[in-house]
């Protein structure tokens, strides 16, 4: 029995801050930061946006494309590292907003930047096992970067949602593989506002080892080579790492660029590679193959291969495209950004 994606949707907040605006405040050279990270600007959530509101907006777009009765949804999973509550699920808010309640299961996932693909994998399993008819898997984040730190240039907000099922597929799942180790490259302790990372340690033994191994295992498992893949969508913590990973795997820039959004919106964490997948699905043609490989610090990668079906052409125009959200933007200065992100300590706090 085939399983796959029935509907997809994305959401990116309208506000942006440029690398120059951040560098100016902290006395750093904007050009050096921009060239080093290959990121020009990042998305900023409005003060009334959080992981739940982004998950709802992305999932409503996914439902417009899936065209199913929400009561047929059997599971709602939301992956994020910035759930609004420490205890109280984001997934119940989303399930209620989709009117999928009450006869379903719902839960929140957390695995740094790969919580979204972890939720996708779990939903694929439930559908494949015929325990549910449809499931919703979301990667959504309003990520945190400490003021003045390297992560502040990239920690962004956005999300993607996928309605997963076994009928009327727009992209068939050919397979999924994961690669997981205990690698402390990035973490945020309980009650800490900002994460910490291991500097250069986040590169070779962390991002590259996991992304490259999971991607190779996935392609080898299906007997595929890079030339058989139309689009490669890796996790994108910046604009530099994905390019290096693609090159090492033997992919060209043409195979990478459609799904590479981080230069324009930053790192949307759990939303990052899922949002890249939505940007590819927006323009994909029937029979094209997509390799998606997430990365979550801590550390692990989930890899998926999808084959696009001819039904994709019916749904691409039913909801806003990811490029619509990328292109609609309003710039804020650092002061406004700091206020929106709660970085200013008020007198009564």
């Amino acid at each position: 029995m085939d399983v796959g994606i029935v509907g997809y949707g994305s959401y990116i907040p309208v506000y942006r801050i440029k690398v120059e605006a951040i560098a100016k405040v902290w006395g750093q050279d904007a050009e050096t930061m921009r060239k080093g990270l290959k990121v020009d600007e990042k998305s900023v959530p409005a003060p009334d946006e959080d992981t739940a509101t982004i998950a709802v907006e992305a999932s409503r777009n996914a439902m417009l494309r899936a065209r199913i009765n929400p009561k047929r949804i059997g599971a709602v999973y939301v992956g994020s590292e910035s759930h609004p509550y420490a205890v109280k699920p984001t997934a119940t808010i989303l399930a209620e907003a989709l009117e999928a309640t009450p006869n379903l299961t719902a839960a929140d996932f957390e695995f740094a930047c790969k919580a979204g693909t972890a939720s996708m994998q779990a939903i694929f399993g439930l559908v494949k096992a015929e325990m549910i008819e449809y499931g919703v898997a979301v990667g959504s984040d309003t990520s945190q970067g400490a003021p003045g730190g390297a992560l502040e240039y990239t920690a962004a907000a956005g999300g993607a949602s996928f309605i997963i099922g076994k009928a009327n597929l727009i992209a068939k799942l050919n397979g999924t593989r994961s690669f997981t180790t205990d690698t402390p490259d990035f973490w945020r302790r309980e009650r800490q506002a900002y994460p910490r990372h291991g500097g250069r340690f986040t590169g070779e033994p962390a991002y590259f080892k996991h992304i490259l191994t999971a991607s190779k295992n996935m392609m080898n498992g299906l007997g595929l080579e890079p030339k058989d893949i139309n689009y490669f969508v890796p996790h994108q913590p910046n604009g530099k790492f994905p390019r290096q990973a693609a090159k090492k795997l033997g992919f060209t820039e043409d195979q990478l660029l459609q799904g590479l959004l981080s230069p324009q919106i930053g790192n949307t964490y759990s939303g990052a590679s899922p949002l890249g997948l939505t940007a590819v699905l927006d323009i994909a043609k029937p029979d094209e193959k997509i390799l998606l490989t997430s990365y979550g610090s801590g550390a692990g990668s989930d890899s998926f291969v999808f084959t696009v079906t001819d039904k994709i052409l019916e749904v691409q125009g039913l909801a806003p495209k990811t490029s619509d959200y990328i292109n609609k933007k309003k710039y804020v200065d650092y002061g406004t950004y700091a206020k929106y992100r709660g970085k200013i300590n008020l007198a009564d706090e």
């Binding site: 506000y15 009334d48 739940a52 509101t53 709802v56 009117e99 309003k330």
Partner: protein, 130 residues
């Protein structure tokens, strides 16, 4: 302090703009009512508002109530929905100078209020310019 039970009861209307329609006179009530505003009848059916309409008047809030101080200046508008009812809501994702009578708006899902850093978060509808 946010009234958790009241917000919980109002989730259908706040999340999904679910009103009711009088079976006797076809009047659409939002929020849903137990007695029809138009004919005083009690017989209703569910009515899902589509969430699009236009601004019929608005004001810019510069001295905000408790809990909304960080948002100033922000626009609160009375919107005539295409389905008929009028609704009062915040207009988001724009400068207050962009808000004007007659402009088209569309519903979006946002955080409405939170009971401090430790309290419950309330979600619901706001609107953005189309």
């Amino acid at each position: 302090m946010t009234e958790v039970p009241r917000f919980w009861r109002e989730i259908p209307q706040r999340y999904n703009l679910i009103g009711n329609k009088c079976r006797k006179c076809d009047w659409i009530n939002f929020p849903p009512r137990s007695i029809c505003k138009k004919c005083n009848d009690h017989d209703f059916e569910r009515f899902d508002l589509k969430g699009e309409g236009k601004i019929i008047t608005y004001t810019i809030i510069r001295a905000a109530p408790l809990g909304f101080e960080d948002l100033v200046p922000y626009a609160i508008a009375i919107i005539r929905l295409d389905d008929g009812p009028r609704i009062t809501a915040q207009i988001v994702d724009c400068d207050s100078s962009e808000v004007d009578i007659g402009k088209r708006v569309k519903v979006c899902f946002r955080k409405i209020a939170e009971d401090g850093k430790a309290g419950a978060i309330s979600y619901g509808y706001k609107f953005k310019l189309v």
